[in-house]
């Protein structure tokens, strides 16, 4: 199709889509409504299971199956990215150069080294308090992955390569998924249902309340953290090394 025909076709289709959207919106209550039945059920559930962050109780308890699916999508995507970015039969991978980026100023390096432990701590905090405050395995995992890449800022690509995240991180990443399913099966075995809370719930707001949610957060944190390290490392490597 010529770009013009394509555009006309799209505009017609988009008009239909917008009409459909408006019709669907007209059947729904306005934005800002105070009628949220599922919210009420979720809050009751959060209270029963002593999880202060209601989003966490939805993600890791009431609708934990969604999160299992999501964690699996992450595992699949990372595996796929590694498989797709594998060196093809006719490609060669350059030996890591002594230092690809030489122009780092001492100040940047210092900032990198200083930020590294701080970021790691923040990441751990976000993972471990996801049941109380905003955050959890996903957000914390991303922060942890970022921390590893501060090495790039602090040292160089060579320093990052020396860590060889490409080698060990793909092996570490599925451990997150294994932990998640393992906790789920523990629920089945204990008779509270797959992904049910096995351990005593504790008191709302307590740092160790809803321990199952904490453990699931840790599992997801492992998966997301290592997964993103692998992803970024793969792309960096394509950019720097593969010819």
């Amino acid at each position: 199709m010529s770009p013009r025909v394509r555009l006309v076709l799209f505009l017609l289709g988009a008009a239909g889509f917008l009409t459909t959207g408006v019709l669907a919106v007209l059947g729904a209550p306005p934005v800002g409504t105070d009628v949220h039945p599922y919210r009420d059920a979720a809050v009751a559930g959060a209270l029963a299971h002593a999880t202060a962050n209601v989003v966490s109780t939805v993600n890791y308890d009431q609708r934990a199956l969604d999160t299992l699916g999501e964690e699996t999508i992450l595992l699949a995507s990372v595996t796929a990215a590694v498989a797709l970015l594998r060196p093809a039969d006719d490609e060669r991978v350059d030996v890591p150069p002594p230092d690809v980026v030489r122009s780092r100023s001492p100040a940047t390096r210092l900032a990198g080294w200083l930020l590294l432990p701080a970021t790691l701590l923040v990441g751990l905090d976000v993972v471990l308090h996801g049941h109380l405050t905003p955050g959890g395995g996903f957000q914390g995992g991303v922060v942890l992955a970022t921390a590893v890449h501060l090495l790039y800022l602090a040292g160089s690509f060579a320093a990052l390569e020396r860590l060889r995240p490409r080698r060990w991180a793909p092996v570490a990443e599925p451990v997150g998924a294994l932990g998640f399913v393992g906790l789920g099966v523990a629920g089945s075995v204990a008779g509270v249902g797959f992904l049910g809370g096995v351990l005593p719930f504790g008191t709302l707001g307590d740092p160790l309340s809803s321990p199952t949610v904490i453990l699931l957060n840790v599992a997801v944190g492992i998966g997301v953290g290592f997964g993103l390290v692998v992803l970024v490392a793969q792309f960096l490597r394509q950019e720097v090394l593969v010819r």
Partner: protein, 580 residues
């Protein structure tokens, strides 16, 4: 045990995949393959033993937690997923000799996605598994990274499917705004009236399923992805992934949108899909692409049956799905064998290549006959049931569609053994050829048994479905259209009492099926010998048949075109439901 089994269908493959991805590097290849095959086989077997009922994760009540629902339909689909994946993995025993278990891992995660989609009783959770199927699917389609077309097909698949998923998510969000729930059964219990807002929500929610099912005009990605994916992956794509899209449509309509009459809309979309698939199928010379369009044609037939939404039609299309999966899977595997031996999937290049190994051509011909509707294959049984449930003119069109797709495969089989003159192998500017397809294995002089066992097993399976006329398919058909029964099962734990639809041969079905097979043979012979039908079309298309050429030009491989068509499809579906 009951609480574990539907969960195991999803969690089992994920655990094994994760383990293989961790240890794959250190395990010997046969162990990796063996473990993966055992896992998919277990999924297939467990499908037959799942007890009907709903298991909600975490023990929450339905409406808060997410139920995995076992009923007649989801059992059949889980069995089909496991079986096809087992055959696909057996066939790929020698494939992709890379050290790590990426391929097996992705197939297992794909199986978890397919199984989860079939079992989930929650709209958003269905979408999550849909995206899991998608992510694994894009990667598997593009797995042959040395091959340019494979990558392009994978990316197109990725973009169009993701867009479909986002549009479905818009629909889910707006439906949630209206009802305050995400579970299929609670949504059904909300008894949505048949007003315009419900129509709009139905259209948006259905978009993703229609893209996955490759219903016209959402279908463009399918031929591009199927034609380039590794052969064992094609088996899963055509055999079960596309039909699961139709399942999503049927399930969500029956349980949530039961008040909407979509008979006219889905009949129209289904017929257009069937006819377009059949025409495009006949025009192909890349055999994988030919089979892909044949799948689109059969999907059209399924959608027509969904439109009828009677237990008989429903049992018919589910039977056809199983029968078709066996036949189409066998055909794809045979093409894979040809690719391994001759390094091509092009009909003209392969001409005469099976003069000494007629077994392959004979199996392919058998597959072609089964697609056309030859009894007693399962595909013919299902087709007969569908044709009895629809109006006569519609049934005639569907029969012709089946004949055309069967004839196209028969034509290829005839040319393989060197019957008839080959058309000139001219450069083609309209059509994808089958040249330059990368081998998926080392060049094979002798075929390993696992490679030929696959097609034989699958054809045998399709035959067995036709001969045994299993009652589970009737129960599956009834369950899929029984929205109230589904609600009772999930919300009240009451198994349905409605009697299963009867799955049996009818005299007319036997006669029409046999006649269709004969006509398909005649058409194929005509095409090969007189060089008339497809060849003449191909040579004289620019002057003679502008409509066909235009149709081919529409399949441009341009992702922008495909995106435009998705939106056109939404508009068309909406208009058809409102006017129908």
């Amino acid at each position: 045990m009951t609480t574990l089994s539907p969960v195991g269908v999803v969690a089992g493959p994920i655990v094994v995949a994760a383990l293989l991805l961790v240890c794959g590097r250190w395990l010997p290849r046969p162990v990796v393959d063996g473990v993966a095959i055992l896992t998919t086989a277990a999924v297939g077997v467990s499908g037959a033993f799942l007890t009907p009922g709903a298991v909600t994760a975490g023990g929450w009540p339905a409406g808060v937690g997410i139920p995995l629902v076992v009923d007649g339909a989801s059992r059949v689909l889980v069995t089909l997923v496991g079986t096809l994946a087992t055959v696909a993995l057996l066939f790929s025993w020698r494939y992709f000799s890379d050290v790590e278990a990426h391929f097996q891992g992705l197939v297992l995660l794909f199986v978890a996605g397919l199984g989860g989609f079939a079992l989930s009783g929650d709209l958003f959770d269905m979408l999550v598994f849909f995206e899991l199927m998608g992510a694994c699917g894009f990667a598997l389609a593009a797995y042959k990274i040395e091959e340019a077309r494979s990558l392009q097909g994978g990316l197109t698949f990725g973009i169009v499917n993701s867009l479909g998923a986002y549009l479905t998510l818009c629909g889910i969000g707006l439906l949630y705004a209206r009802t305050g729930t995400l579970g299929l059964a609670p949504l059904g219990a909300a008894h949505l009236p048949a007003d315009t807002a419900t129509v709009a929500a139905f259209v948006l929610v259905s978009t993703g399923w229609l893209v996955k099912a490759a219903v016209v005009p959402f279908h463009f990605w399918l031929a591009d992805a199927h034609a380039v994916a590794p052969t064992p992956v094609c088996v899963l794509f055509s055999g079960v992934m596309a039909p699961l899209g139709v399942y999503g449509l049927a399930r969500v309509h029956a349980v949530v949108f039961g008040a909407l009459d979509v008979t006219v809309a889905l009949t129209v979309l289904g017929l257009v899909t069937a006819v377009l698939g059949a025409v495009m199928c006949v025009l192909q010379r890349n055999v994988k692409r030919l089979l892909a369009y044949s799948t689109i044609a059969h999907i059209g037939t399924f959608v027509v049956a969904v439109a009828v939404s009677s237990p008989e039609a429903s049992a018919g299309w589910l039977t056809d799905v199983v029968g078709h999966a066996g036949v189409k899977g066998a055909l794809f595997l045979l093409v894979g064998v040809l690719l391994a031996r001759h390094g091509s999937v092009d009909e003209i290049e392969l001409g005469g290549s099976c003069r000494r190994s007629r077994g392959i051509a004979a199996l392919m011909a058998l597959g072609g006959l089964a697609l056309a509707g030859l009894p007693p294959f399962g595909s013919a049984l299902g087709k007969g049931l569908i044709e009895q449930a629809v109006p006569v003119p519609v049934a005639v069109v569907l029969t012709l569609v089946a004949v055309l797709t069967g004839a196209a495969v028969l034509r290829v089989a005839l040319r393989l053994v060197g019957i008839g003159p080959l058309p000139a192998d001219r450069a083609d500017d309209v059509r994808t050829t089958g040249e330059g397809e990368e081998r998926e294995t080392r060049r094979l002089e002798r075929l390993p048994v696992t490679m030929l066992a696959g097609p034989v097993l699958l054809l045998g399976g399709s035959l067995a479905v036709g001969l045994l006329t299993p009652g589970v398919l009737g129960a599956a058909g009834t369950a899929l259209v029984d929205g109230a029964g589904y609600r009772d099962l999930v919300l009240g734990g009451v198994p349905p009492t409605t009697p299963p639809a009867e799955v049996a041969w009818s005299a007319s079905g036997l006669v029409v099926g046999t006649a269709a097979a004969v006509v398909a043979v005649l058409l194929a012979l005509g095409a090969v010998y007189a060089g008339r039908l497809p060849t003449v079309l191909r040579r004289r298309v620019p002057r003679q048949n502008r409509a066909v050429l235009g149709l081919e030009r529409l399949h441009s491989g341009h992702v922008g075109d495909y995106v435009a068509w998705v939106f056109v499809g939404i508009t068309a579906l909406g208009a058809l439901v409102l006017l129908g």
